[in-house]
Assembly symmetry: D3
Homo-oligomer: 283 residues x 6
């Protein structure tokens, strides 16, 4: 199932590219009746993501254009592998090309980056998770791409997890006060996570019954120490490391014993993946 908002997203993207006159180059240089076959290929190793949007682009541009998937979202492809094939009007294919590729490059970029992080922590037991640092308008698609690449999602937005950060602690008057206030109001199915920067806060957070503890901006040594303190107090408490994590350092962080490592490098920091469409027109 394609998300309910995707037609709007695709229409908006096409509208940016087509303006009022449409694809004037194809209209004026490509015969209306010319048919072609096209293939979208990976031009690097990548994890595919965004196929549903590419398919919707083709359908919006020309309902008679055939779009056949040659790979699935989440699949690892090598340079040269086919992602999808199109068959139909050559004009419509060219008109669709850039918008299809923009979705696929962006989202496969996120999935591929996520795969790098997932591989980096393999075997440690820790998961790398995303953040809310996403491209406005594309969050649900980027978060799916994170999963396609083998990482996990953190909360979707402000509404599905209580995540008490420094500003909230200051406003509430401390860890205990903030956690208590949230516990008094939250529905039974909503967890509470607290960001701590000291051992004192960590102990208070666990004592207050927080479900998850975020250890923010700690070096490896501090992380190891805090993990030990936490496990000693409550062995199964969920621990998340956060702040300044890079691909080069993520394994070391994972080896401190935390359960989760969150980083915006999966989404905002992901380089676009390289894909291209080639068209063969019929003689």
């Amino acid at each position: 199932m394609l998300g309910v908002d995707s037609p709007l997203l695709v229409q908006r993207a096409l509208s940016e590219d087509l303006g009022g006159y449409g694809d004037i180059t194809s209209a004026w240089t490509v015969p209306a009746a010319l048919r072609g076959q096209a293939v979208i290929r990976a031009r690097q190793e990548l994890v595919v993501s965004g196929l549903a949007l590419a398919e919707e682009v083709a359908r919006e541009v020309d309902a008679s254009l055939m779009f056949v998937r040659e790979a699935a979202d989440g699949e690892l492809l090598q340079d040269g592998d086919a992602v999808a094939r199109l068959e139909g009007s050559a004009r419509s294919t060219l008109t669709s090309e850039r918008t299809m590729l923009n979705f696929l490059s962006h989202l496969s970029g996120v999935a591929t980056q996520s795969r790098r992080f997932a591989k980096a922590v393999e075997g440690t037991g820790a998961f790398v998770v995303d953040t809310r640092k996403t491209t406005p308008g594309l969050r649900s698609w980027e978060k799916r791409a994170v999963v396609h690449g083998g990482c996990r999602n953190h909360r979707f937005g402000l509404f599905d997890l209580v995540l008490i950060k420094n500003n909230h602690l200051t406003a509430a008057g401390g860890v205990r006060e903030a956690v208590r206030a949230a516990q008094a109001m939250r529905p039974h199915y909503i967890k509470i996570e607290v960001e701590v920067e000291s051992e004192l806060d960590l102990r208070e957070a666990i004592a207050s019954g927080a479900d998850v503890i975020m250890l923010d901006n700690q070096d490896l040594e501090q992380l190891r120490r805090l993990v030990a303190v936490a496990r000693d107090l409550k062995p199964d408490v969920m621990l998340e490391a956060s702040g300044g994590v890079r691909l080069e350092t993520v394994r070391a962080v994972a080896e401190t014993g935390v359960d989760l490592i969150s980083t915006s490098a999966l989404t905002m920091g992901a380089p676009a993946a390289d894909l291209a469409l080639t068209l063969t027109v019929e003689a």
Copy 2:
């Protein structure tokens, strides 16, 4: 003037973050009456872009929240410089924070990247220009950010320039045929650009009266040679180099004598800029 589509864009971004229950953490841990002062600061050298969207976020979340710009779009800031200040409800400030920063980080990233490229070609007489490889839904904002950083825009979409590429040449039967076909149809104010990959095509494109020639995927030596050929035939023909340009190589490309260098590195390849909001609540 804020673009006519921006309220929709901002509402969509906020809707992703607020869902049905809104900012539950702030609602349950921050007193409703608590007021605060916040400042958004650069945490690296950057060129600001996207202030209108950040301001619109604040207004949508809480019309009584004051948002005061401390910098202008296109301004170069140093690490620690203020971008904007907010004053009003502490809850509303925290609710707005991430969406404001996501717009500013993404667009200031594009502007800052564009500045790097603009500096790299300074003094050569060439301009670096963007492409249509933009984030779906954000094209007009990314293209403004490119200008904020000191680069130029290429065509906005498929509708405001005839750009004849390989696929069109094949379909039309050659450079001359494609250019003639476009000339016969185009309104008087629309220019024609042709992508060429050989000297033969270059000569034919100039002979046919193309306004701009794109020299695609040429090495420096070939570029220099083709520029010489072109200038010899028509001194003031506009020449664009395209394909695989990086920050490290862009100056050398500019020095071949082309007028324009297009690269998706300005938009899809731009790393997000680092900004942060700090809140001070009133005693």
Copy 3:
């Protein structure tokens, strides 16, 4: 803060009422310059909800119409108490009347019904919670009204809690298999709830590590027995009773020792509250 979707909701409601010609009766019988003062009053004991929407109606109809709240969402009012006052154009007041009252009646109805249930279980330690049986298009407003009335929210939709029901159990092959499958995929902050109908399933659900157990369609005796079994296995497991609960029976259910009782009676079953607007025109 008014939800980001509320202007659309209010515009849609007004559009239903105004059509293409608008309020023809007021336009043709009420002088354009006539000003008036109006008050919206409760005509029964009720808990107010939906004031932000009523205020938005007034603003959409006529930005110069003053709307002053005389009560707050969640406040308990008696028959005759004022909810809000309006001052300005008599025509605009009459044009707004029905749409304002439709929002207030519907949502105050939900809040008032929720208060009845909340009072019924007072002192038992159990909470009454809502379901996903809501009016299409109004879920976030109805769920806030539930809280205004003193009850709690269950999950907002399909996306913020794993709730494994009979159909999922059948498809997955049993309680253990379903819980394991969900545990393997869920982000760390998402809880898992399982619906059980037998003691065997209850034991398996607890053993598998489900966070919440829904005891569906049990009579009081069975409920008491299952609560005892569950508390014996895991004292702090969260238990929810569900199915066929009415205002007359909810206290007895609460006294079985469950933590939560879910019922669609809070939303779909809530009778509209009675409110009315009276207008005084200036001499």
Copy 4:
């Protein structure tokens, strides 16, 4: 034909339920390839309404899901009767379930309630009609449900009938003045109805040429008297009783000789109808 606004309405309802991650329970516990057969059945005697919306929900969730109607809008069903059948992906069926049922329960509730009132006045010659007290966003669907149940519609909104109420009378200076003012402005095809509360006003309304007279908040005795007065003056004048009508009292009101009885009990006062979906998965 499905109303032009229904796709938007259905998308909005689905969007509430799916959020950004979609139906996580089905995604994680039900195999993607599992197919099933489902039937939606009445669990009480009811008049069906809203089938077009339920069908649209299925189509939006998964275009390959087959939805076959087993009953027609307006049909009276008994407990256990099938309303519709679905065949296709088990996941898609479960994802659609609640949104389909929310539309059907709400609208069949209105139709069933309308049938109760229609039966109550059977043989009296009077019609029971709806009001503008409808759920914001659902008016056209609720008004169709009223007809499915055997009652009639009153005006759709403020735009298709002049209905002069007390506030208008005060503003205009009296019945005669208000009716004259409206007569001078109304298009030829728009009728004029006047609300009266005394015999004097009734006589003036008829003398002024009002097409319909609303007798508001009268007891049975007064109604009978006013009907007699009106019939005496103008035998074929259309008379509507309004205010505080209940199922228990509606027949007595009808027997006073009025032509129409309007009541919000058809819409805002209608209890939701009980329907359920059962799924059988293929072995």
Copy 5:
């Protein structure tokens, strides 16, 4: 009150004109700080209509631009008279100019044309009314313009009057059958109009109780005869002439004694009115 759909209409119109880059000429040639005063004037005798839309254009482009009305919708102006004044940013004024004028020219054209027809029938007792031949997307504004010009509205759409035409008569089996069918279904407040082309049909329509009779495509002689027949049968029956009416012939048609004359010349046939904006910039 501005119609609820007008912001969308204005945004769509501005979006056509601004595209992705906005008003590049003003941005590049007019200093950002330059302020100006502008006046919109009639350049012919005209009846103003559409001021609310022009004002909304100014507000959408730049909320700080002052827009002051110098005339009211429905007012008759002479060549040179001021319609409105603007004060503020010169750039914003120029950016708004064309969209403001397009609304005003189109709608004042309809109002002015309507005035011509209204004057032509003055004193005859007949009204000229519009049709459903309107510009898609602008019906409610064109219909208001018709009233501003002194004519009347016919039904708004297919939903607010039963208008039985030839095709319906054929399908229903005759005038009597069609009218009876409609009478059996219509709400009490909906009138029935029937199109007739012969005396036989006219007699049947009146006998069946139709509220309005449309005499379609009759010459003056036939009209006079049918009017006499109709008045003889039912003196107060409402009679409408329709088909091929022009400004030159409308008075003669009115003098046949019909009550209404409908013509698409008021809307689709109305020439745009001539208005212009002149800007004075501050020294």
Copy 6:
């Protein structure tokens, strides 16, 4: 390909006509099962335009209604020629009729008017072009209709050509200053056009390197003189005549030697074309 905004445009047009109750006349007088065949015919000589919208209307009203084109956009038809045929539900055909015809009449009117102008200048080498004086919401469709009729498009909006008019010249300080300012900012693919009213300005515009010169509001003699001056200075400069051009005068203007003649007569001044639908129902 149908433009991406057309479904919205068609839905809005249908929504105007259907309101909340839909086509009540057809619903109550035409049997649901009745099938028919309909043909849309030209009732005058006309150039067809808008078929895609008419087809979309049919599809939105009833997906099972067959719509077959009997002509193509841009085709010249004679009185009586078929434009399209429909087959299917008689009700759905009647419900679609007016909205289909409104699109076709309006756009074929523009195309037919454009053909008149195109014929008038045939053989002169000049093109007649449109302006931005278009109906709000319909610009892209009207501009396509202009091309269907044989004329050319001028710029689409404010964003795709620099067009420096009097107000900009005043603000910038003169022709040279304005052109230089635009040259310094414009992307390489955007042309610059300048409006001039004197020989001095004309000389300065050419000297500054403007791509196109608009000669505004000149009589024929002045036009001839300015064309001679311009051709003398720069033989291939593009020259546009503008202001007060009518069908009777356009050829004389073309014969002055200008390249382009712009006139709002193609769009705002175009009379609607006459088309009609006739329905045959099956026995």
